[in-house]
C-alpha cells in the first residue's frame, strides 16, 4: 500500500472525524493507501511540518496556507471538506455588547496562531482599530478554553460552533444567554479546514494519483461520519479524543459544516479569503495557483 502521512491542525477530535473514520473503516485500505494520522496541537504549525517533509498532506485553514505560500512554501488546496466556517464570536446577553456597534472600547477574545485573520478582516470591514482605546477594540489573545468569558476578562470570545460553544453551555449558559456573531452568517467567513499538499510534489503523476485516492477515501469517510455521527465520535474517542459526549455533539455540529461531502472548493469563498488576507497585508501579493480542482474532479468521478 502507498504510505500517506496526514498532519492535522489540532488535537484529535470530531473536527477530523472523517479521516479517522476512513482509516478505521478501511476506506484508505480499499484505495491502496496506508495512512498515518498525526494529531496537531497548539504549537504545531502544519505548514512547517509539510515544508519539512514530515507530512504528505495537511489539514489547514486557508489563511495559514496562503500565508505560508506567500513565504515560499508551495501549498496547494486540493480539497475543501468544510464548506462553511465554524467560527463565531459570542457575548453574554447581560454584558455590554448587543450588536456590532457596541464593540468600541471593549475587549474581544481571539485565537491567534493563524486563526485571527477572519476576526481582523471583520474589524477591518467595520472600520474599528484593533489597538484598543475608546474608539477601537482591545484584542485579547484567548487561551484554549472559555474561561475569559466566565471570568469576565473579555466581553466577547471566539468559539467554534462545534467545540467551545458547547463548553459555554456546559458551564451553565443557556443559548438565550448568549449573543452570537457567526462569521458564515455575516458573510465574513474565511475558509477553514481544507486539505493541502505541496505544489512540486503534485507535479508527479504518481503522487497526484495518490492524493486523488486519498481525497476520495477521506470524503467517503466524511460522508460516513455525517451519516453515523455517534459511531464516528466513538472512533474519534478510541483514537485519543476526549470526552465521548462532547465528541458526539461536536460531530453533529461538524456535519453541518461539511454540507454534501464532495470536497469541492467554492471559488467565491476562496476569492473572499484571498482578498481579506491581501487587505490586511498578511500576504503581499495576489496568490495564484493556490488551489486546484483537479484532484476533487478526479476523486468524484
Amino acid at each position: 500500500a502507498d504510505p500517506v502521512t496526514l498532519q492535522l491542525k489540532w488535537v484529535t477530535q470530531s473536527q477530523f472525524a472523517g479521516y479517522y473514520v476512513a482509516k478505521e473503516k478501511g476506506f484508505y485500505e480499499d484505495e491502496g493507501l496506508d495512512v498515518t494520522i498525526k494529531p496537531g496541537g497548539p504549537d504545531i504549525a502544519p505548514e512547517q511540518v509539510i515544508a519539512g517533509g514530515g507530512a504528505d498532506v495537511i489539514v489547514d485553514w486557508m489563511g495559514g496556507a496562503l500565508a505560508a505560500r506567500d513565504k515560499g512554501v508551495g501549498l496547494v488546496n486540493i480539497a475543501q471538506p468544510f464548506k462553511k466556517a465554524g467560527m463565531e464570536l459570542v457575548c453574554p446577553k447581560d454584558g455590554p455588547i448587543k450588536s456590532e456597534a457596541d464593540f468600541k472600547g471593549h475587549t474581544l477574545g481571539v485565537w491567534f496562531f493563524g486563526n485571527e485573520y477572519p476576526f481582523y478582516a471583520w474589524m477591518n470591514k467595520l472600520g474599528y482599530s484593533t489597538e484598543g482605546g475608546a474608539d477601537g477594540v482591545t484584542v485579547l489573545k484567548q487561551s484554549f478554553d472559555v474561561q475569559p468569558l466566565i471570568q469576565k476578562q473579555a466581553d466577547c470570545i471566539s468559539v467554534m460552533t462545534y467545540n467551545e460553544y458547547w463548553q459555554l453551555i456546559d458551564a451553565g449558559y443557556k443559548p438565550d444567554d448568549l449573543i452570537v456573531f457567526n462569521y458564515t452568517a455575516m458573510g465574513n467567513d474565511l475558509l477553514e479546514d481544507g486539505l493541502y499538499a505541496m505544489e512540486d510534489k503534485l507535479k508527479d503523476p504518481a503522487f497526484e494519483d495518490k492524493m486523488v485516492r486519498f481525497v476520495r477515501a477521506s470524503m467517503k469517510g466524511w460522508k460516513y461520519a455525517t451519516e453515523h455521527p455517534d459511531e464516528a465520535a466513538e472512533i474519534v474517542v478510541e483514537n485519543g479524543g476526549q470526552d465521548e459526549n462532547h465528541q458526539k455533539r461536536m460531530m453533529g455540529e461538524v456535519a453541518k459544516l461539511i454540507d454534501n461531502a464532495d470536497g469541492k472548493l467554492i471559488e467565491a469563498a476562496y476569492d473572499r479569503t484571498a482578498k481579506a488576507l491581501l487587505d490586511q497585508k498578511i500576504i503581499t501579493k495576489e496568490p495564484s495557483g493556490a488551489w486546484t480542482s483537479a484532484i476533487t474532479d478526479k476523486a468524484i468521478k
Partner: protein
C-alpha cells in the same frame, strides 16, 4: 527515629495550614461563578449550601483539595495502567522521556565540563554561550525542534528527550566544571610530584573529587529534565504524558484534571529527586564520606 518525628510534626502542621488556606481560597475564587450560575438558574441557596456548592463545581477555578485527591485516586488506582485516562500511564510516558533526556543531558554536561577544564580555548569561549543558551525560551523552540526532527523522521521519545537534554545539561556542565576544578592545589601538586599523567590525574583525583558536585547538579538536572519532558509533550499533539494531560485538560477547562496532572508531576518529581538523593548517599558512603 527521634529526628523523624521532629520533622513530621512541623511539616504536617504546615501542610494542614496549606490545605485550610486552599479550601478558603477555593470558596472565595469559585463564589462569583457560583453566584452567576445561581442567578441564571434562579436559585437562592443558604450560605452553607452555597459554600458547599463552591466546592463541588465540575470546572472550578480553584478545585477543592478533596476533588483533586479524588481525581488522582481514581485515575491512579481505579484505571488500567494502559488506559488513556490512567495517570500512571501518563506519568510513565513522561518518566521515560525524562530519564532518557536526563541520561543524555548528564553525559553531555560532563563532556562539556571535561572539555572546558582541559581545553583552554573552550574554557574561554564556551561559558557565555552556555549561559545564553539557557535564556532562550525553550517552549518557543520546542515545537520547531519537534517539527524539524519529525522532518528527518525522528519522532516519539527522542525529540522530547532532546528537549530534556537541553534543559538538563546546563546544571551538570556548570556543576562539573566546578567539581573537576575542586581538587586543592596541594593535591594537584602531589600528583605532579609523582609525575602522574593527565589521565591519571583525571581519574584518580578530578573525578572522585567531583562526585559530590555531580550529584548535587544531577538533582537539579533531573528536575529540569522533567520540565523539559513536559514542555516537549505539549507540541506533540497532546497524545500522552503529563504535559499532554495538562494541556488537553486545559483546552476543556478541566481544572480538576489539570491539578491532578500537576500532582502527578509533583509526585514524579519527588520520586526522581529522592532517587538521585538515595543513589548519591550510597555512592558517597561507598567512597568513605563521613556520615552527616
Amino acid at each position: 527515629m527521634n529526628s523523624v518525628t521532629e520533622k513530621i510534626v512541623p511539616v504536617t502542621t504546615i501542610l494542614i495550614a496549606i490545605v485550610i488556606g486552599w479550601y478558603a481560597l477555593a470558596m472565595v475564587m469559585n463564589a462569583p461563578f457560583q453566584r452567576d450560575m445561581n442567578r441564571r438558574g434562579n436559585v437562592t441557596p443558604s450560605t452553607v449550601e452555597f459554600l458547599e456548592s463552591t466546592l463541588a463545581q465540575a470546572k472550578p477555578i480553584v478545585p477543592a483539595p478533596h476533588q483533586v485527591v479524588q481525581n488522582v485516586y481514581e485515575n491512579t488506582f481505579l484505571r488500567k495502567i494502559t488506559s488513556n485516562r490512567s495517570l500512571v500511564y501518563h506519568a510513565g510516558v513522561t518518566l521515560s522521556s525524562t530519564l532518557l533526556g536526563f541520561t543524555f543531558g548528564t553525559i553531555l554536561g560532563i563532556l562539556i565540563a571535561v572539555g572546558i577544564v582541559h581545553v583552554a580555548a573552550l574554557d574561554r569561549s564556551l561559558m557565555p554561550w552556555i549561559i545564553a543558551s539557557q535564556t532562550i525560551p525553550i517552549l518557543a523552540i520546542a515545537p520547531m525542534i519537534i517539527v524539524v526532527l519529525a522532518a528527518v523522521n525522528i519522532t516519539g521519545l527522542l525529540p522530547k528527550a532532546l528537549i530534556s537534554t537541553y534543559l538538563s545539561f546546563f546544571p551538570v556542565a556548570v556543576g562539573m566544571v566546578k567539581g573537576l576544578r575542586s581538587p586543592e592545589l596541594m593535591h594537584l601538586d602531589l600528583m605532579h610530584t609523582y609525575n602522574a599523567s593527565p589521565s591519571q590525574v583525571f581519574w584518580k583525583l578530578r573525578v572522585p573529587a567531583s562526585v559530590p558536585f555531580l550529584f548535587a547538579s544531577m538533582k537539579v538536572a533531573i528536575a529540569a529534565s522533567l520540565v523539559g519532558a513536559i514542555v516537549g509533550e505539549l507540541p506533540t499533539g497532546a497524545v500522552a504524558g503529563i504535559g499532554a494531560k495538562l494541556l488537553s485538560a486545559s483546552y476543556f477547562s478541566n481544572t480538576i484534571d489539570m491539578w491532578a496532572a500537576l500532582v502527578a508531576g509533583s509526585v514524579v518529581a519527588m520520586l526522581l529527586v529522592g532517587l538521585v538523593g538515595i543513589v548519591s548517599r550510597l555512592v558517597e558512603r561507598a567512597m568513605g564520606a563521613r556520615p552527616a
